[in-house]
Protein backbone atom coordinates (compact mmCIF):
# COMPACT_ATOMS: atom_id res chain seq x y z
CA UNK A 1 0.00 0.00 0.00
CA UNK A 2 1.09 3.50 -0.75
CA UNK A 3 3.61 5.40 1.30
CA UNK A 4 3.77 9.16 1.19
CA UNK A 5 6.62 11.51 1.97
CA UNK A 6 4.92 14.39 3.78
CA UNK A 7 6.04 17.76 5.13
CA UNK A 8 3.96 19.31 7.86
CA UNK A 9 4.75 22.51 9.75
CA UNK A 10 4.12 21.49 13.34
CA UNK A 11 4.21 24.33 15.85
CA UNK A 12 6.23 26.36 13.38
CA UNK A 13 8.84 23.71 12.56
CA UNK A 14 8.68 21.76 9.31
CA UNK A 15 8.70 18.04 10.04
CA UNK A 16 9.07 15.33 7.43
CA UNK A 17 7.78 11.82 7.66
CA UNK A 18 7.15 8.75 5.55
CA UNK A 19 3.57 7.69 6.22
CA UNK A 20 1.08 5.07 5.15
CA UNK A 21 -2.11 6.38 3.52
CA UNK A 22 -4.20 5.28 6.47
CA UNK A 23 -2.13 6.88 9.23
CA UNK A 24 -4.26 9.29 11.25
CA UNK A 25 -2.99 12.77 12.08
CA UNK A 26 -3.20 12.07 15.80
CA UNK A 27 -0.93 9.03 15.39
CA UNK A 28 1.54 11.05 13.31
CA UNK A 29 1.72 13.57 16.15
CA UNK A 30 1.89 11.12 19.04
CA UNK A 31 3.68 8.08 17.65
CA UNK A 32 5.90 9.45 14.90
CA UNK A 33 6.71 12.96 16.14
CA UNK A 34 6.39 11.97 19.83
CA UNK A 35 4.21 14.97 20.65
CA UNK A 36 2.04 13.22 23.21
CA UNK A 37 0.30 16.31 24.56
CA UNK A 38 -2.52 15.63 22.10
CA UNK A 39 -4.71 12.95 23.66
CA UNK A 40 -6.79 10.18 22.16
CA UNK A 41 -10.09 9.89 23.95
CA UNK A 42 -13.03 8.27 22.22
CA UNK A 43 -11.34 7.76 18.83
CA UNK A 44 -14.82 8.14 17.26
CA UNK A 45 -15.02 11.87 16.47
CA UNK A 46 -17.03 12.68 19.58
CA UNK A 47 -14.90 13.79 22.51
CA UNK A 48 -12.45 16.37 21.15
CA UNK A 49 -9.50 15.30 23.34
CA UNK A 50 -7.43 15.09 20.13
CA UNK A 51 -8.24 18.64 18.98
CA UNK A 52 -5.42 20.42 17.14
CA UNK A 53 -5.36 23.39 14.78
CA UNK A 54 -5.06 22.61 11.07
CA UNK A 55 -4.34 25.81 9.16
CA UNK A 56 -5.76 27.67 12.15
CA UNK A 57 -9.03 25.72 12.39
CA UNK A 58 -9.74 23.48 15.38
CA UNK A 59 -10.23 19.91 14.14
CA UNK A 60 -10.39 16.43 15.60
CA UNK A 61 -7.06 14.87 14.67
CA UNK A 62 -8.45 11.33 15.00
CA UNK A 63 -10.61 12.12 11.97
CA UNK A 64 -8.00 13.60 9.65
CA UNK A 65 -5.42 11.57 7.72
CA UNK A 66 -1.79 12.53 8.29
CA UNK A 67 -1.36 12.77 4.54
CA UNK A 68 -4.17 15.35 4.41
CA UNK A 69 -1.96 17.61 6.54
CA UNK A 70 0.84 17.48 3.96
CA UNK A 71 1.98 21.03 3.21
CA UNK A 72 -0.21 22.51 5.93
CA UNK A 73 0.26 24.06 9.37
CA UNK A 74 -0.57 22.07 12.47
CA UNK A 75 -0.54 23.51 15.96
CA UNK A 76 -0.71 21.28 19.01
CA UNK A 77 -0.91 22.02 22.72
CA UNK A 78 2.91 21.96 22.80
CA UNK A 79 2.85 25.06 20.61
CA UNK A 80 1.01 27.22 23.14
CA UNK A 81 3.94 27.92 25.46
CA UNK A 82 6.50 30.38 24.09
CA UNK A 83 10.03 30.67 25.53
CA UNK A 84 8.98 29.21 28.84
CA UNK A 85 5.95 31.49 29.15
CA UNK A 86 2.55 29.91 29.35
CA UNK A 87 -0.06 31.16 26.94
CA UNK A 88 -2.96 33.04 28.60
CA UNK A 89 -5.27 30.11 27.78
CA UNK A 90 -2.96 27.82 29.79
CA UNK A 91 -2.82 30.32 32.64
CA UNK A 92 -6.60 30.53 32.56
CA UNK A 93 -7.00 26.78 33.07
CA UNK A 94 -4.52 26.93 35.96
CA UNK A 95 -5.93 30.03 37.64
CA UNK A 96 -9.59 29.07 37.29
CA UNK A 97 -9.08 25.39 38.09
CA UNK A 98 -10.38 24.42 34.65
CA UNK A 99 -9.46 20.77 35.02
CA UNK A 100 -9.43 17.81 37.33
CA UNK A 101 -8.07 14.73 35.59
CA UNK A 102 -6.72 16.83 32.72
CA UNK A 103 -7.53 14.40 29.95
CA UNK A 104 -9.74 16.78 27.95
CA UNK A 105 -7.56 19.81 28.72
CA UNK A 106 -5.26 19.90 25.66
CA UNK A 107 -8.30 19.73 23.38
CA UNK A 108 -10.21 22.28 25.42
CA UNK A 109 -7.28 24.67 25.30
CA UNK A 110 -6.83 24.33 21.54
CA UNK A 111 -10.52 24.94 20.94
CA UNK A 112 -10.43 27.92 23.32
CA UNK A 113 -7.32 29.25 21.59
CA UNK A 114 -8.95 28.98 18.14
CA UNK A 115 -12.08 30.70 19.44
CA UNK A 116 -10.14 33.62 20.90
CA UNK A 117 -8.16 34.03 17.68
CA UNK A 118 -11.37 34.51 15.77
CA UNK A 119 -13.39 36.25 18.44
CA UNK A 120 -11.53 38.24 21.09
CA UNK A 121 -14.51 38.84 23.39
CA UNK A 122 -16.84 35.85 23.24
CA UNK A 123 -19.93 35.74 25.42
CA UNK A 124 -20.44 32.83 27.78
CA UNK A 125 -22.94 31.37 25.31
CA UNK A 126 -20.42 31.61 22.48
CA UNK A 127 -17.76 29.90 24.60
CA UNK A 128 -20.18 27.11 25.50
CA UNK A 129 -21.12 26.64 21.85
CA UNK A 130 -17.47 26.65 20.77
CA UNK A 131 -16.53 23.88 23.23
CA UNK A 132 -19.66 21.82 22.57
CA UNK A 133 -17.55 19.33 20.59
CA UNK A 134 -15.16 18.85 23.53
CA UNK A 135 -16.32 16.61 26.34
CA UNK A 136 -15.22 16.91 29.96
CA UNK A 137 -16.36 14.10 32.24
CA UNK A 138 -15.11 15.39 35.61
CA UNK A 139 -14.84 19.15 36.13
CA UNK A 140 -18.01 20.03 34.32
CA UNK A 141 -17.91 23.12 32.24
CA UNK A 142 -18.24 26.03 34.69
CA UNK A 143 -14.54 26.44 35.37
CA UNK A 144 -13.59 25.66 31.79
CA UNK A 145 -15.76 28.56 30.64
CA UNK A 146 -14.14 30.74 33.32
CA UNK A 147 -10.70 29.68 32.11
CA UNK A 148 -11.47 30.80 28.55
CA UNK A 149 -12.91 34.07 29.90
CA UNK A 150 -9.75 34.55 31.96
CA UNK A 151 -7.64 34.19 28.82
CA UNK A 152 -9.89 36.54 26.86
CA UNK A 153 -9.53 39.15 29.58
CA UNK A 154 -5.78 38.70 29.76
CA UNK A 155 -5.36 38.95 26.01
CA UNK A 156 -7.57 42.05 25.65
Amino acid sequence: MAQHRIRVAVNGTVREAEVESRLLLVHLLRDVLRLTGTHIGCDTTHCGACTVLLDGEAVKSCTVLAVQADGRDVMTVEGLEQNGNLHPIQEGFMEEHGLQCGYCTPGMMMTGYALLNRHAKPTEKEIREAISGNLCRCTGYVNIVKAVQHAAHKMA
Partner: protein
Protein backbone atom coordinates in the same frame (compact mmCIF):
# COMPACT_ATOMS: atom_id res chain seq x y z
CA UNK B 1 -8.91 2.39 15.61
CA UNK B 2 -7.09 2.29 12.33
CA UNK B 3 -8.72 1.87 8.92
CA UNK B 4 -7.86 -1.12 6.78
CA UNK B 5 -5.11 -0.27 4.30
CA UNK B 6 -5.97 1.82 1.24
CA UNK B 7 -4.16 4.03 -1.24
CA UNK B 8 -4.67 7.77 -0.88
CA UNK B 9 -4.75 9.96 -3.97
CA UNK B 10 -4.78 13.74 -4.00
CA UNK B 11 -5.62 14.94 -7.51
CA UNK B 12 -5.11 18.64 -8.13
CA UNK B 13 -7.71 18.98 -10.86
CA UNK B 14 -11.23 17.72 -11.45
CA UNK B 15 -10.07 16.00 -14.63
CA UNK B 16 -7.49 14.01 -12.66
CA UNK B 17 -10.05 13.14 -9.99
CA UNK B 18 -12.50 11.85 -12.60
CA UNK B 19 -9.77 9.83 -14.28
CA UNK B 20 -8.84 8.19 -10.98
CA UNK B 21 -12.50 7.48 -10.29
CA UNK B 22 -12.88 5.87 -13.68
CA UNK B 23 -9.69 3.84 -13.28
CA UNK B 24 -10.52 2.43 -9.85
CA UNK B 25 -14.30 2.23 -10.20
CA UNK B 26 -16.10 0.53 -7.36
CA UNK B 27 -12.93 0.07 -5.33
CA UNK B 28 -12.60 3.87 -4.91
CA UNK B 29 -14.38 6.43 -2.75
CA UNK B 30 -14.29 10.20 -2.85
CA UNK B 31 -12.89 11.80 0.30
CA UNK B 32 -14.25 15.26 0.95
CA UNK B 33 -14.34 16.51 4.56
CA UNK B 34 -13.99 12.92 5.78
CA UNK B 35 -16.11 13.46 8.85
CA UNK B 36 -18.56 10.69 7.93
CA UNK B 37 -16.28 8.55 5.78
CA UNK B 38 -13.20 8.32 8.02
CA UNK B 39 -15.19 7.17 11.09
CA UNK B 40 -16.86 4.51 8.91
CA UNK B 41 -13.47 3.31 7.67
CA UNK B 42 -12.01 3.36 11.19
CA UNK B 43 -14.89 1.27 12.50
CA UNK B 44 -14.42 -0.92 9.41
CA UNK B 45 -18.07 -0.63 8.53
CA UNK B 46 -16.75 0.21 5.11
CA UNK B 47 -13.69 -0.91 3.19
CA UNK B 48 -12.12 0.87 0.27
CA UNK B 49 -9.00 0.27 -1.81
CA UNK B 50 -8.57 3.83 -3.02
CA UNK B 51 -9.47 7.16 -1.45
CA UNK B 52 -9.60 10.09 -3.83
CA UNK B 53 -9.29 13.33 -1.86
CA UNK B 54 -11.01 16.19 -3.70
CA UNK B 55 -9.97 18.64 -0.97
CA UNK B 56 -6.88 19.78 -2.89
CA UNK B 57 -8.71 20.67 -6.09
CA UNK B 58 -8.87 24.46 -6.22
CA UNK B 59 -12.15 26.27 -6.77
CA UNK B 60 -14.62 23.97 -5.04
CA UNK B 61 -15.10 26.08 -1.90
CA UNK B 62 -17.38 29.08 -2.46
CA UNK B 63 -20.70 30.65 -1.51
CA UNK B 64 -22.12 33.25 -3.87
CA UNK B 65 -25.18 34.25 -5.83
CA UNK B 66 -25.36 34.37 -9.61
CA UNK B 67 -28.11 33.99 -12.23
CA UNK B 68 -30.85 33.94 -9.61
CA UNK B 69 -29.28 31.11 -7.64
CA UNK B 70 -27.22 30.68 -4.52
CA UNK B 71 -24.25 28.52 -5.47
CA UNK B 72 -22.36 26.49 -2.90
CA UNK B 73 -19.22 24.65 -3.96
CA UNK B 74 -19.26 20.94 -3.15
CA UNK B 75 -16.27 21.12 -0.81
CA UNK B 76 -17.51 24.20 1.10
CA UNK B 77 -17.15 23.60 4.84
CA UNK B 78 -20.19 23.77 7.11
CA UNK B 79 -18.34 26.36 9.20
CA UNK B 80 -18.05 28.57 6.10
CA UNK B 81 -21.85 28.54 5.80
CA UNK B 82 -22.12 29.53 9.46
CA UNK B 83 -19.72 32.45 9.03
CA UNK B 84 -21.13 33.70 5.73
CA UNK B 85 -22.82 37.10 5.90
CA UNK B 86 -24.86 36.21 2.81
CA UNK B 87 -26.18 33.04 4.47
CA UNK B 88 -26.87 34.78 7.77
CA UNK B 89 -28.85 37.62 6.23
CA UNK B 90 -30.60 36.00 3.29
CA UNK B 91 -30.72 32.25 3.93
CA UNK B 92 -31.26 31.87 7.69
CA UNK B 93 -32.70 28.37 7.19
CA UNK B 94 -29.26 27.29 5.94
CA UNK B 95 -27.65 28.85 9.01
CA UNK B 96 -30.20 27.02 11.21
CA UNK B 97 -29.25 23.78 9.49
CA UNK B 98 -25.47 24.13 9.37
CA UNK B 99 -25.24 25.15 13.02
CA UNK B 100 -26.89 21.96 14.32
CA UNK B 101 -24.81 19.52 12.28
CA UNK B 102 -22.51 17.44 14.49
CA UNK B 103 -20.35 19.84 16.54
CA UNK B 104 -18.24 22.94 15.77
CA UNK B 105 -14.98 20.99 15.35
CA UNK B 106 -16.55 18.55 12.92
CA UNK B 107 -18.11 21.48 11.03
CA UNK B 108 -14.64 22.94 10.46
CA UNK B 109 -13.93 19.92 8.25
CA UNK B 110 -17.30 18.58 7.12
CA UNK B 111 -18.49 19.67 3.69
CA UNK B 112 -21.95 20.50 2.41
CA UNK B 113 -21.71 18.39 -0.70
CA UNK B 114 -18.95 15.85 -0.77
CA UNK B 115 -19.40 12.12 -0.87
CA UNK B 116 -18.15 11.83 2.66
CA UNK B 117 -20.27 14.89 3.40
CA UNK B 118 -23.78 15.86 4.06
CA UNK B 119 -25.60 15.38 0.75
CA UNK B 120 -23.81 12.79 -1.34
CA UNK B 121 -23.60 10.44 1.61
CA UNK B 122 -27.35 9.82 1.25
CA UNK B 123 -27.89 9.39 4.98
CA UNK B 124 -31.47 10.34 5.93
CA UNK B 125 -30.18 11.35 9.38
CA UNK B 126 -28.11 14.16 7.90
CA UNK B 127 -29.55 17.62 8.28
CA UNK B 128 -29.07 19.36 4.92
CA UNK B 129 -31.27 17.09 2.81
CA UNK B 130 -34.60 18.16 4.35
CA UNK B 131 -33.64 21.81 4.01
CA UNK B 132 -32.46 21.39 0.42
CA UNK B 133 -35.73 19.60 -0.39
CA UNK B 134 -37.90 22.47 0.85
CA UNK B 135 -35.74 25.06 -0.90
CA UNK B 136 -36.09 23.28 -4.24
CA UNK B 137 -32.32 22.93 -4.53
CA UNK B 138 -30.48 21.10 -7.26
CA UNK B 139 -27.04 19.59 -7.34
CA UNK B 140 -24.43 19.51 -10.07
CA UNK B 141 -22.83 16.16 -10.75
CA UNK B 142 -19.60 16.23 -12.69
CA UNK B 143 -18.60 13.10 -14.57
CA UNK B 144 -16.50 11.99 -17.54
CA UNK B 145 -19.19 13.20 -19.95
CA UNK B 146 -19.48 16.62 -18.36
CA UNK B 147 -21.93 18.09 -15.92
CA UNK B 148 -25.56 17.35 -15.26
CA UNK B 149 -28.09 18.87 -12.91
CA UNK B 150 -30.14 16.73 -10.56
CA UNK B 151 -33.08 18.19 -8.62
CA UNK B 152 -32.66 17.32 -4.95
CA UNK B 153 -36.14 15.76 -5.05
CA UNK B 154 -34.75 13.07 -7.36
CA UNK B 155 -31.37 12.81 -5.64
CA UNK B 156 -32.07 10.58 -2.65
CA UNK B 157 -32.82 7.16 -4.09
CA UNK B 158 -32.62 4.96 -1.00
CA UNK B 159 -30.77 4.54 2.29
CA UNK B 160 -27.16 5.68 1.66
CA UNK B 161 -27.95 5.64 -2.05
CA UNK B 162 -28.12 8.71 -4.27
CA UNK B 163 -28.67 9.45 -7.94
CA UNK B 164 -24.94 10.07 -8.38
CA UNK B 165 -23.40 7.61 -10.83
CA UNK B 166 -20.27 5.78 -9.61
CA UNK B 167 -18.11 7.90 -11.92
CA UNK B 168 -19.61 11.23 -10.84
CA UNK B 169 -18.63 13.78 -8.19
CA UNK B 170 -21.03 16.22 -6.53
CA UNK B 171 -19.48 19.60 -7.32
CA UNK B 172 -22.11 22.23 -6.60
CA UNK B 173 -25.38 22.82 -4.79
CA UNK B 174 -27.73 25.45 -6.16
CA UNK B 175 -30.61 27.04 -4.30
CA UNK B 176 -33.06 29.44 -5.98
CA UNK B 177 -32.77 32.99 -4.61
CA UNK B 178 -35.88 33.29 -2.43
CA UNK B 179 -38.85 35.20 -3.81
CA UNK B 180 -40.09 38.28 -1.93
CA UNK B 181 -41.97 37.48 1.29
CA UNK B 182 -40.24 34.13 1.72
CA UNK B 183 -38.92 32.61 4.92
CA UNK B 184 -37.63 29.29 6.09
CA UNK B 185 -36.52 27.58 9.28
CA UNK B 186 -34.95 24.31 10.39
CA UNK B 187 -35.55 22.93 13.86
CA UNK B 188 -33.91 19.82 15.28
CA UNK B 189 -34.51 17.83 18.43
CA UNK B 190 -31.29 16.12 19.51
CA UNK B 191 -30.39 14.46 22.78
CA UNK B 192 -27.06 16.23 22.87
CA UNK B 193 -24.72 18.18 20.61
CA UNK B 194 -23.36 15.93 17.90
CA UNK B 195 -26.21 13.43 17.89
CA UNK B 196 -28.45 12.70 14.95
CA UNK B 197 -31.96 14.07 15.10
CA UNK B 198 -34.65 12.30 17.11
CA UNK B 199 -36.76 14.43 14.81
CA UNK B 200 -36.15 17.55 12.74
CA UNK B 201 -38.20 19.66 10.36
CA UNK B 202 -37.44 22.14 7.60
CA UNK B 203 -40.18 24.51 6.50
CA UNK B 204 -40.04 27.10 3.74
CA UNK B 205 -42.95 29.45 3.05
CA UNK B 206 -43.58 32.10 0.40
CA UNK B 207 -46.53 34.40 1.02
CA UNK B 208 -48.77 35.84 -1.67
CA UNK B 209 -49.94 39.45 -1.77
CA UNK B 210 -53.04 38.66 0.27
CA UNK B 211 -50.96 37.00 2.99
CA UNK B 212 -51.96 33.48 2.05
CA UNK B 213 -49.35 30.79 1.45
CA UNK B 214 -48.29 30.84 -2.20
CA UNK B 215 -45.67 28.12 -1.87
CA UNK B 216 -44.84 25.75 0.97
CA UNK B 217 -42.03 23.28 1.45
CA UNK B 218 -41.94 20.84 4.36
CA UNK B 219 -39.14 18.34 4.89
CA UNK B 220 -38.34 15.82 7.63
CA UNK B 221 -34.99 14.43 8.78
CA UNK B 222 -34.53 10.86 10.00
CA UNK B 223 -38.13 9.97 9.26
CA UNK B 224 -37.62 7.12 6.80
CA UNK B 225 -34.95 5.50 4.59
CA UNK B 226 -34.66 8.74 2.62
CA UNK B 227 -35.31 12.38 3.61
CA UNK B 228 -39.08 12.92 3.59
CA UNK B 229 -40.82 15.64 1.65
CA UNK B 230 -44.23 16.01 3.27
CA UNK B 231 -46.10 16.63 0.04
CA UNK B 232 -49.58 16.25 1.49
CA UNK B 233 -48.93 18.81 4.22
CA UNK B 234 -47.43 21.19 1.65
CA UNK B 235 -50.58 20.87 -0.44
CA UNK B 236 -52.75 21.50 2.59
CA UNK B 237 -50.86 24.69 3.49
CA UNK B 238 -50.78 26.12 -0.03
CA UNK B 239 -53.44 28.74 -0.69
CA UNK B 240 -54.48 29.01 2.98
CA UNK B 241 -54.20 31.91 5.39
CA UNK B 242 -51.55 30.59 7.78
CA UNK B 243 -53.29 31.01 11.13
CA UNK B 244 -52.46 28.87 14.16
CA UNK B 245 -55.11 26.26 13.40
CA UNK B 246 -53.79 25.83 9.86
CA UNK B 247 -50.16 25.51 11.02
CA UNK B 248 -51.20 22.91 13.59
CA UNK B 249 -53.04 20.91 10.98
CA UNK B 250 -50.07 21.12 8.60
CA UNK B 251 -47.90 19.74 11.42
CA UNK B 252 -50.34 16.93 12.04
CA UNK B 253 -50.42 15.90 8.37
CA UNK B 254 -46.63 16.14 8.06
CA UNK B 255 -46.06 14.15 11.26
CA UNK B 256 -48.28 11.38 9.89
CA UNK B 257 -46.02 11.21 6.82
CA UNK B 258 -43.04 10.31 8.99
CA UNK B 259 -42.06 6.65 9.15
CA UNK B 260 -39.12 6.72 11.57
CA UNK B 261 -37.41 3.66 13.03
CA UNK B 262 -37.53 3.05 16.76
CA UNK B 263 -34.15 3.30 18.49
CA UNK B 264 -32.49 4.71 21.61
CA UNK B 265 -33.69 8.16 20.54
CA UNK B 266 -37.31 7.16 20.91
CA UNK B 267 -40.25 5.08 19.74
CA UNK B 268 -42.01 5.53 16.43
CA UNK B 269 -44.91 7.29 18.19
CA UNK B 270 -42.59 9.70 20.01
CA UNK B 271 -40.64 10.59 16.89
CA UNK B 272 -43.83 11.17 14.88
CA UNK B 273 -45.18 13.39 17.62
CA UNK B 274 -41.92 15.36 17.76
CA UNK B 275 -41.95 15.72 13.97
CA UNK B 276 -45.49 17.12 14.23
CA UNK B 277 -44.51 19.66 16.88
CA UNK B 278 -41.32 20.71 15.07
CA UNK B 279 -43.12 21.21 11.74
CA UNK B 280 -45.63 23.55 13.40
CA UNK B 281 -42.89 25.48 15.22
CA UNK B 282 -40.65 25.69 12.16
CA UNK B 283 -43.64 26.90 10.13
CA UNK B 284 -44.24 29.71 12.65
CA UNK B 285 -40.60 30.73 12.49
CA UNK B 286 -40.61 30.56 8.68
CA UNK B 287 -43.71 32.74 8.66
CA UNK B 288 -42.04 35.29 10.96
CA UNK B 289 -39.05 35.43 8.64
CA UNK B 290 -41.33 35.81 5.62
CA UNK B 291 -42.77 38.87 7.35
CA UNK B 292 -46.14 37.23 7.75
CA UNK B 293 -46.73 38.03 11.42
Amino acid sequence: MIPAPFDYHAPESMADALELLERYGESAKILSGGQSLLPLLKLRFGMVDHLIDIGRIPGLEYIHESDGQLRIGGVTRESALERSELIRTKYPILLDTASVIADPLVRNRATVGGVGGNLAHGDPANDHPATMLVLGAEVTATGPKGQRTIPVEEFFADLFTTALAPDEILTEIRVPVPAARSGGAYLKLERKVGDYAAAAAAVSITLGEDGSVARAGIGLTNAGPTPVKAVEAEGFLTGKQPDDAVLHEAGRIAGAAASPSPDHRGSVEYKREMARVLVTRAARKALDRAGGR
